[in-house]
């Protein structure tokens, strides 16, 4: 037995996607110590999930994986082991928790039976269910996955994961699909599992703050390589790689200045081939020098000289960057304040808007929405999505609506947009009506129409001729920061951030009075999300729109709204000035939400 739960050396993986072979992992060296929680952090496409699959020996055969290097879990080589050996490792050494517990649990089996598949003993299963914090375990033993909440399902996954007494649990984005309060519980659970069962945990996440909460060490991945790895304290407070610095600084916190542009990483400009040659981050890096574009930096100790040779390799702070630590950290200080943008100043602060009380842009009176659920049984079940909501939004005001899933916040938006019915109550909209931006931009754009077709549709009432319409489309695309040529592309040819920009262009090509935003950035990486939030704030000023912004993220809510409204169970429980609500919450529910926000403090 070795002293590590898993050891990865020189791992390279290439996969075929859409007929094109690409290098997904490009030389990963990594050790997960026994009883250690290692956070793997990276944006989408960084290769972190492929690493997890490779460690489980479950790379998708359809992608024709070519693997180079070694992965040892326990004593077995996961690259060359026989299928029987790999199965034995997965059964005895590994536990897995996936992002979406609904799709990874079998919907046709009772949860107890699913745990018992791993434990072979129902008494042990019930004990495990209690151990992962499921109250009334004997009762819950016989329910189906759909009868449980998201948090409980994730606990069932955790119970299955620890059933075989694994030495390593791989948790791939286990909290991403969950509400903040539940997210905090699941993270606590992972730590408890480590403490109780002594297993190691590899926590894969796109959110540095989530990793920082429970990880002993954090590895930051970029484009299939490790950019920086070290003790959590070190990475969070003394980052030495420009990418880590950028990630930390584009992260939104409850103290991010509200009147400034949010910091974002530079957009990628290099082609895939160029990125492979040198440091993959070089075209986005504000500190890049010539060498960065031509030569790949090795992963080397961050503190050169003094500790070389003596440091424990398992906990050493390593970085892959040609610039010196002093250069990187010096730069951090130089640009620690973003330029304030005059046009982003709050309109409510100027005297004349308060002096002339214009008609409100949105007036909602005693709004109730009841959905009848069809289903088994004779009695029709009713869900009260909204229970008497009153909300008035002044023209030009931005209001954030926060709440957890099921709070009715999205239903409220859908009623305003006319997509859901109001059972009782009134919704009055000013002037040019409302437009909406959806959570999943990709699926909100018709896949077989071009961007130009989609935008032109909103211009139809204006009855412009072809040339004028094309000009308008070009202008609208320019306003959201995309080249005119995008008009000829279909949504599938765009990246996630570009799709959300196109959705914004559709909403604003004829400026509406009210812009409704339903979690438009929750599916985007932090830096992309920040740039879309910047864009929405700019458009709000330049087009003089009222904004209703629904989100589950309190930091985003505070930034996007002059006012924050907190909803739970279909009612508004708190409403007030954004900073007041966030920093001096009055309602107990708001306080519990705030207490669950993972935060890593301000970057020094």
């Amino acid at each position: 037995m070795s002293d590590s739960a898993a050891r990865v050396e020189g791992l390279r993986v290439s996969l075929v996607r859409d007929g094109v072979r690409s290098d997904v992992l490009r030389g990963i060296d990594l050790t997960v110590g026994r009883g250690e929680i290692l956070g793997m952090v990276g944006e989408s496409g960084s290769g972190k999930s492929v690493l997890a699959l490779a460690m489980m020996g479950l790379l998708p055969v359809a992608a024709d994986p070519q693997v180079d290097g070694t992965i040892r879990v326990g004593d077995v080589d996961m690259v060359h082991g026989s299928p029987e050996q790999l199965r034995a490792v997965r059964r005895n050494e590994l536990g897995v928790i996936f992002q979406d517990p609904m799709t990874s649990l079998n919907p046709t089996m009772r949860v107890g039976a699913q745990i018992t598949e791993a434990t072979h003993d129902s008494a042990e299963s019930i004990r495990l269910m209690s151990a992962v914090g499921i109250a009334d375990a004997p009762l819950r033993f016989t329910v189906y996955p759909h009868e449980l909440s998201g948090g409980l399902r994730q606990r069932i996954m955790a119970a299955i994961a620890v059933a075989g007494r694994p030495s390593l649990i791989i948790a791939d984005e286990p909290t991403t699909a969950l509400d903040v309060t539940v997210q905090a519980q699941v993270l606590d659970l992972l730590r408890e599992l480590r403490d109780e069962f002594g297993c190691s945990v590899m926590l894969i996440t796109h959110d540095l703050a989530v990793a920082a909460q429970i990880a002993d060490r954090v590895a930051v991945m970029y484009a299939g390589r490790i950019a920086e790895i070290g003790a959590t304290e070190e990475i969070i407070h003394r980052p030495t790689h420009p990418y880590t610095v950028g990630l930390l600084r584009s992260r939104l916190s409850l103290d991010t200045p509200r009147d400034r542009r949010l910091l974002t990483l530079r957009p990628e400009t290099a082609s895939a081939a160029e990125r492979m040659k040198g440091c993959a981050y070089h075209s986005r890096c504000p500190l890049a020098v010539e060498r960065c574009a031509t030569e790949q930096p090795p992963l080397a100790p961050a503190s050169q000289g003094d500790t070389a040779g003596t440091a424990d390799t398992a906990t050493e702070h390593l970085r892959a960057c040609w610039r010196t630590v002093a250069d990187v950290q010096g730069y951090t200080h130089e640009t620690s304040d973003a330029t304030p943008i005059a046009s982003l100043a709050r309109p409510g602060a100027s005297a004349d808007t308060t002096a002339t009380p214009a008609a409100p842009a949105v007036r909602i009176t005693d709004l109730t929405t009841v959905f009848a659920l069809k289903g088994g049984g004779r009695r029709k079940r009713q869900v009260h999505a909204l229970r008497g909501v009153d909300l008035t939004v002044a023209a030009g005001e931005a209001v954030s609506i926060v709440g957890e899933s099921g709070s009715g916040k999205s239903t409220l938006l859908r009623v305003i947009a006319g997509l859901a019915p109001a059972t009782t109550g009134r919704v009055e909209l000013a002037g040019r009506g409302a437009q909406m931006v959806f959570q999943d931009a990709g699926s909100s754009l018709t896949p077989w129409l071009t961007v130009g077709d989609i935008l032109r549709e909103r211009l139809r009432p204006a009855k412009l001729d072809r040339a004028a319409a094309s000009r308008r489309i070009g202008d609208a695309l320019e306003a959201i920061g995309l080249p005119e040529t995008v008009a000829a592309l279909r949504p599938a040819q765009l990246s996630g951030g570009q799709r959300q920009r196109v959705a914004l262009a559709r909403a604003t090509i004829i400026p509406p009075s009210v812009l409704l935003c339903d979690e438009p950035t929750s599916a985007l990486d932090a830096s992309l999300a920040a740039s879309v939030l910047n864009l929405i704030r700019e458009l709000r000023r330049s087009l003089d729109m009222t904004v209703l912004f629904v989100t589950h993220d309190l930091a985003v809510a505070r930034l996007m709204g002059d006012r924050v409204v907190v909803m739970t169970e279909g009612t508004i429980v708190e409403s007030g000035d954004a900073d007041d609500v966030i920093h001096h919450p009055e309602h107990p529910y708001t306080r519990s939400l705030l207490a669950s926000v993972p935060d890593i403090g301000v970057l020094s």
Partner: protein, 289 residues
Amino acid sequence: MSAAVPEVGSRRFRMPAATLGAHAGTRLSVVILVALGILTLVALFARVLTPYDPVQPIGALNLAPGSDGHPLGTDSIGRDILSRTLIGVQVSWFSSLVIVASGLVIGGIVGIAAGVFGGWLDALLMRFTDLFLALPGTLVAIAIVAALGYNLQNTLIGIAVVWWPYYARIIRGEVKSFAARPHVEAARVAGASRTRVVFRHIVPGVVPTAIVTASLDIGNVVLLLAGLSFLGLGQPAPAPELGADTARNLSQLLSEWWVPVIPGLAVLVLSLLSNLGGDAVRTLLARRR
């Protein structure tokens, strides 16, 4: 450690068959569709390609294939089998296409109407469809032909009447599933009219499924038509028809086998090609997406 480093692409991690198979699938599909194209051209120009009049006796009786200007021989009254088979293929092939097209059109209208409007119209149209699905299709077709008289037009009407419900079902389901997608809501919020939402944001998504369903269905129609004709429900004699030519000459199966077998083989080739063609269309459309 260097000894443990595997060569890139060691056997276990290489599945060339899968990728090659994908390419081969595309190529094979194209070949099949080209073959179907040639078949359609042959059917289209069958009148020009036939060496003899298919209806008039022109040679010795029961000549074996390959003999004396008759590549496929002659039948019991001296008609050229190649000529009769070519015309039979023409009738079979275009009739099948007409039936499938009628199924697409009628089923498409019913399915789109039911899927888009929903409510009582949906319920009404779907119960009506269920009614037709519950009837034994072939028997109803036979009854209709028997009632209207034996000729090609009535056969086609008979089959068309029972053929659309299947399409209506599938298209309604697809319309419903597309109508529930976020991009349809987004189009509604963006102010698109109902007609526009249906024909720009829903129907184009249904088209690929409808095409695949239809192309997989052509073979069924070929067989049904041949079957009806075999039972004597096609065109009256002496019109050349594949099913009828097989049935009428069945007594010669042991003496002059080619007379009944060749039209039968033509049916086999037709239905096989159209089934392969259906698969090919599905493969190519799936690749495009």
